[in-house]
Symmetry: C2
Subunit: 201 residues, 2 copies
Amino acid sequence: MARVTTTTPRIRLSPDERRSQLLDLGVRLLATRSLDELSIDLLAEEAGISRGLMYHYFGNKQGFYEAVVQHAADELYACTAPPAEGEPLERLLGSLTGYVDYVLANHTGYRSLVKAATAGNDNLRAIYDTTFAALADRFFTVDPGGLAIPDTPAVRLLIHAWQAMVEDLVLTWCDSPAGLTKDDLLQVITTSLPALIDTLP
Amino acid sequence: MARVTTTTPRIRLSPDERRSQLLDLGVRLLATRSLDELSIDLLAEEAGISRGLMYHYFGNKQGFYEAVVQHAADELYACTAPPAEGEPLERLLGSLTGYVDYVLANHTGYRSLVKAATAGNDNLRAIYDTTFAALADRFFTVDPGGLAIPDTPAVRLLIHAWQAMVEDLVLTWCDSPAGLTKDDLLQVITTSLPALIDTLP
């Protein structure tokens, strides 16, 4: 009997899978908490593992924060994938719907990430900047079937500013919707991109 | 002779005038420095007064920073006063020219103020928010002869987001103009406001 038990294969997660599971949990905890409120201790407790094992997976506190923020950024990128087909503006609308839903579901954590990136932690800022640059890249390289906009430095400059506007608009709207439904908000942020690019001389 | 000297009136600044002079100097120093680099010691040295007198005027370090930032915000508000006459879009262009010139002249300090406001110092954030709310108010109360836009919560929400966009655009452009002249930049930020409001359902 003992022999049968020991030969039954145990499902063991690889270290990478275990780490990824911990990051999923970290991002879930971040949905309703700021980055400051998410500690190695809290995650260790929620995951039922020792602090020592947490340090084994993440090196140190800073490495832990960066890994969680990078995981959240990857999730944001995945959530905003445009639908494979449709008119350019419909596809942009689909992508932005993913963004608004993501911010709605992760409001507290998202706001604290923006703050951490702006406050000048260089590594968190780099993750933030790289993520938004990748989102901008979608218009040109990853998703050339989308909006027909020329890939020029001036257009890139405007997309960067439009992203800042969308972020401000969505975060402010979450606090105080000003009579706009989610569909109204989506109409504004979707159609404002071509409208903004049209202002270029 | 001694009598003549003593009866010659000496020009003495009142404490308020002296404080205001120190704030002017603080804002000038901030043009090429971040807020972190502007210390009570530096301002005392540049003004040729004692640290003790600085504390007399500003209470403490935090009071000093708040007074300098408020003074800078008042200056920004004054610099962006729209011209008294002209077509609405011309008057907005005049106001925004003041804004761009202000940011160009005070690049380092302005960027550090935005960072300080976002990083969550509540008092600096309040000065920042109040200033931009006052700039938004100009469209409705102070300068009703300007753009004919309705004063609704949704329009206010959009103006807030447009301000975030303009700030990002101007600061990014200062670092890397992307082939846009200052006039091109001004055309984009001026005409983007009515274009953005037109996207409202």
